[in-house]
């Protein structure tokens, strides 16, 4: 997502915080297909994904004022809300409540004290796909299943038909390699 897109989204979220319905309509038009696809990928059930998307946008209308563009990119904020809400439903179905976006907010995860760090973190995202492709196929699949489909270690293990210990090991090494790769990529001009 380009910086300008994030700026436009941030402007729409600001408009929503001021009660501007046009901004809300526009944000829905732009982001609902992306958020819906992400939610559906996690829930695997269209009617549930629709319910969650509805919850997400109601939440956006009511809590848009909590968003500060100086603290987090608009896309990060929106995807986090949608993904957490979808995971929350998934965990509730499994009898294990997931933490909510509000808890992360309270925990300070959306306080960004340093704009320079924000810019550096934006770079991290840019290098993700490059670094993911450097992982071996098992590590990459484990991370993608876990992140994009909200699967637990056990579920990834079932999906890939591998022992739980193997999956934990793939994930751990995959994340370590990803972290190292992204950090290095950010230090080297592309």
């Amino acid at each position: 997502m380009a910086l300008n897109d994030n700026k436009n989204l941030a402007a729409l979220i600001k408009g929503i915080s001021q009660g501007q319905r046009n901004s809300f309509n526009d944000l829905y038009s732009i982001m609902s297909p992306k958020l819906f696809a992400l939610i559906l990928r996690i829930t695997k059930e269209e009617s549930k994904a629709e319910d969650i998307l509805q919850e997400v946008f109601i939440k956006l209308w009511q809590n848009a004022k909590t968003y500060d563009p100086a603290k987090a990119q608009a896309t990060t904020w929106l995807y986090t809300i949608a993904r957490n809400r979808a995971l929350d439903h998934l965990r509730t179905d499994r009898g294990n409540r997931h933490q909510s976006f509000e808890e992360e907010l309270v925990a300070g995860l959306y306080d960004e004290p340093n704009p320079q760090q924000l810019a550096e973190h934006a770079l991290l995202g840019q290098y993700l796909s490059r670094c993911l492709n450097l992982l071996n196929e098992n590590q990459k699949k484990s991370i993608q299943f876990a992140y994009l489909e909200g699967l637990t270690h056990f579920e990834v293990s079932s999906k890939l038909a591998k022992p739980l210990g193997t999956i934990k090991s793939w994930l751990r090494r995959g994340l370590q390699n990803l972290s190292t790769c992204v950090e290095r990529a950010c230090k080297v001009p592309s």
Binding site: M1, N84, A107, G108, G125, L178, S179
Partner: protein, 229 residues
């Protein structure tokens, strides 16, 4: 990277991925709540993973989702929220003094037989964009009596907040309205100067307990102009 940093890096990533157990997540949150450095490290993973979410092929939801959102937020009966910015629209929102006074007399039955000259009684009906009355309000001295006119305004998940709009200034809250029945509000001294004939009042839909910011945060559902009777 030390073993401890490595461990924390992996835990942060798994937190962002949603892979920690509920108990571990709670412990994680308790640790980072007072640790800006760990918060920064966790945000690093949030931003790292965002493009992965953005790479999912978009899929348009069924139009019924938007209709349900509009209904839940009251947009299907609410005026444009640009009202706060477009005060000139409110100039058209006037009510017939005679008919409003009649409603007032019937509902309240409190009209004094003879008004004291020095005490002005003010009133207004707050209408929605379909000119349906939502609340009837009378004001005398520092007291304001509000009566709900519309049973359809009931909503357990929101509060209705009353605002006065001083010319050229941001809206000022007069308090929350009862969704049913009658309620008395005391007008703060600093606001009483604005409650006068011609003044515009409005009702916005807010989270339960009222606007958390001191300014309207939800859509404007009802508006009206104060008249003297």
């Amino acid at each position: 990277m030390s073993r401890r940093d490595y461990f924390w890096d992996i835990i942060s990533a798994k937190f962002v991925m949603g892979m920690l157990s509920n108990k571990t997540r709670q412990r994680f949150l308790r640790i980072i709540i007072n640790d800006p450095q760990k918060q920064t490290e966790t945000r690093k993973w949030q931003m790292t993973f965002t493009p992965l979410a953005g790479a999912v092929k978009p899929l348009s939801p069924h139009p019924r989702v938007w209709r349900r959102i509009e209904k839940q937020l009251g947009f299907d009966r609410a005026p444009s929220p640009s009202f706060w910015q477009n005060l000139s629209l409110w100039k058209g929102l006037t009510a017939s003094t005679a008919s409003v006074a009649l409603i007032f007399a019937i509902l309240f039955n409190t009209l004094p037989p003879q008004k004291a000259i020095e005490t002005q009684t003010l009133m207004l009906v707050l209408n929605d964009d379909q000119s349906r009355g939502g609340w009837l309000i009378s004001s005398s001295q520092a007291k304001m009596v509000t009566v709900s006119l519309n049973q359809e305004t009931k909503t357990p998940h929101n509060s209705y907040e009353l605002w006065v709009l001083p010319p050229g200034q941001a809206p000022l809250s007069l308090g929350l309205l009862n969704q049913q029945g009658r309620k008395e509000l005391r007008v703060p001294d600093q606001l009483s100067q604005w409650i006068r004939p011609g003044a515009t009042l409005a009702v916005s839909l807010e989270p339960v307990g009222g606007s958390p910011t001191g300014a309207p945060t939800g859509p404007v559902l009802y508006t009206g102009k104060v008249i003297s009777i």
